[in-house]
């Protein structure tokens, strides 16, 4: 017990003030996960709108697929992205392996089904009424989408927060395709994992505190938007 308290104390000391290395790791974590969440959202929001508004054959199957995709282990997505971007893979010539680019792709793939499925579930309650109202007032296609997005904005925000929280805390997949290269692809989770395994428990704790604070800060900021 003592040694955990000692670790906490030393970890906190390491952050006052944080070293430039820690700051860089934090910045890269936020940038990679932020970019991945943004990419995933840009695809997930139209996808969930389509799924909630459009009636088509096999819709239930597609929705089921999206829900199932939420359960795909991150490490399998890591494997897939690794296979695509390594030198012999179809995207090999782009030289993405062990770059932030590969990490963004993998995290976006992880977040996409999650944001889609959560948006879809939350939209079901509001989308039909918003659609009926907008259509009955004479909305065209674009105006209809705008009205449903506006009515569903809380649903989307909640889903996006969940997506971001999922990817910023992800370790194994990010390590596989990013490589945890110091100064290049080292993010909070991979750094924590490495330092703890090296026996630097206090550094692990320090980074853990930062990860927690970073995740908290982004959540609070997004929820602040929701309050408006």
């Amino acid at each position: 017990m003592n040694y955990i308290l000692e670790g906490l104390k030393q970890g906190a000391a390491l952050l006052l003030p944080p070293s430039s290395e820690i700051l860089q790791i934090v910045a890269l974590s936020l940038a990679v996960s932020g970019a991945a969440t943004l990419l995933a959202s840009l695809a997930a929001i139209p996808a969930s709108l389509f799924l909630v508004l459009k009636e088509f054959r096999g819709k239930r199957f597609v929705v089921g697929l999206v829900n199932t995709a939420m359960a795909v282990p991150a490490v399998l997505i890591g494997l897939l992205v690794y296979g695509m971007v390594n030198r012999r893979g179809p995207l090999g010539p782009l030289g993405l392996l062990f770059t932030p680019g590969a990490m963004i792709i993998a995290q976006a793939l992880l977040a996409f089904p999650l944001i889609t499925a959560l948006s879809l579930a939350a939209l079901k309650g509001v989308a039909r009424d918003a659609r009926d109202l907008a259509l009955s007032l004479g909305a065209n296609r674009r105006q209809l989408a705008a009205a449903v997005i506006h009515q569903g904005r809380f649903a989307f925000l909640t889903a996006i927060i969940a997506g971001f929280s999922r990817v910023i805390g992800e370790t194994g997949m990010t390590l596989m395709v990013g490589g945890n290269i110091k100064g290049q692809t080292r993010v909070l989770t991979t750094a924590i994992s490495l330092e703890t395994m090296k026996g630097n428990f206090e550094i692990g704790i320090a980074l853990g505190i930062v990860l927690l604070l970073a995740a908290l800060a982004v959540n609070v900021a997004l929820q602040g938007l929701q309050g408006k």
Binding site: L133, L135, G138
Partner: protein, 355 residues
């Protein structure tokens, strides 16, 4: 707007919600779609308002076929129609924000003058700044109607707009509906409220289990229902099933205890007699008249309906409902237990074939 519906049908998976609907709506009168819950009234309105796609059949709007319309033509058609939903669809925000939602959505200019005019018309003057979701049920429904009226459509589709409202709100909304028809709009009102139908309807379309059972001028449908379903729904009082028979050269409907003289081409088989409560005469002594039917029985109950009094009178085991004026009721000292005579003409009996 003139609307013609041909063989319209809608299914929900396997179940038919609507089938084989043929009808016509004209402007200038209130077209009432009457029927019990689950008859398909809302589904029909949603199809008319282009909120859902018909599974089968065709709708012509001013002679133009729905199935041949492009997406933009359908949008412009929706812009000529206004829909009032059964449970008000209001957004978080003020009354004014809800009212202006239509124009804002479509980037239309709207003047202060117009908004206050429709608010005024719907009894919501000066309520602009109020939170819409905190309005009473009746106010919410009037706000919905105001929102539609602001866009001044040619076609009004009203889905049970007065369900669960207080009597004063109902009156206000009914007055607004009558005015719209009077102004020459095409008004289609779905309701299961018979009194409302009697009050407003120019034409009645009776739906049951997804089928159109009877359509026509309101008085025709209400007074001469074509089937027992409609009679039970629209004139719930005084429906007596029995067997037709010929006695002493007269046709009677016999239910085992009462023999009611009727006018009928048929003289055998099962049938039901429908007698409207206002067609029955009440007297203390038997009256000599041309009316062929007279029965004696005790008053069971007297109910005050406001404009008229409703008596329940037990004649040979059948409890008749009879409407009389308040004055007659007082003059005759009518109270439970008093024995009276009920008299009605054979021609007042509307016969429905059974089975």
């Amino acid at each position: 707007m003139h609307i013609l519906v041909e063989n319209l049908g809608q299914t929900d998976g396997k179940k038919n919600i609507l089938q084989g609907i043929d009808l016509e709506f004209a402007p200038g009168v209130v077209n009432v779609i009457l029927g019990p819950n689950g008859a398909g009234k809302s589904t029909l309105l949603r199809l008319l308002g282009l909120l859902d796609k018909p599974g089968r059949g065709e709708i012509y709007y001013d002679g133009r076929r729905l199935s041949a319309m492009s997406r933009s033509e359908r949008t412009s058609l929706r812009r000529r129609a206004g829909f009032v939903f059964q449970s008000p669809l209001l957004l978080a925000g003020t009354v004014a924000a809800n009212l202006r939602f239509g124009p804002r959505l479509r980037n239309l200019p709207v003047s202060e003058q117009e908004t206050s005019r429709v608010l005024e018309k719907n009894g919501l003057r000066g309520r602009d700044g109020q939170e819409a979701r905190l309005l009473s049920g009746g106010e919410k429904q009037r706000l919905q109607l105001a929102r539609v009226m602001l866009l001044d459509p040619d076609l009004y589709l009203l889905d049970e707009p007065t369900t669960n409202l207080d009597p004063l709100s109902v009156k206000n909304i009914e007055a607004a509906i009558a005015r719209l028809a009077h102004e020459g709009k095409t008004v289609v009102l779905a309701t299961h409220n018979l009194i409302q139908a009697r009050l407003l309807a120019g034409k009645i379309f009776f739906l049951k289990e997804g089928r159109l059972v009877q359509a026509g001028a309101a008085a025709e449908v209400l007074n001469r229902p074509l089937s027992l379903d409609i009679a039970e729904f629209s004139a719930a009082e005084n429906i007596i099933p029995g067997t037709l028979a010929l006695r002493d050269g007269r046709t009677v409907l016999d239910n085992g205890r009462l023999a009611i003289e009727v006018v009928s081409a048929r003289t055998s088989g099962r049938a039901a007699a429908v007698i409207r409560p206002e067609d029955i005469l009440v007297s203390e002594k038997p009256i000599a008249s041309s009316a062929r039917n007279s029965f004696r029985g005790p008053v069971l109950a007297v109910a005050d309906l406001g404009a008229v009094m409703a008596l329940s009178v037990d004649c040979g085991g059948f409890v008749f409902t009879v409407f009389i004026t308040r004055i007659s009721c007082v003059q005759m000292n009518l109270a439970p237990g008093v024995e009276i005579f009920l008299t009605f003409k054979a021609t007042s009996v509307h016969l429905l074939p059974l089975e």
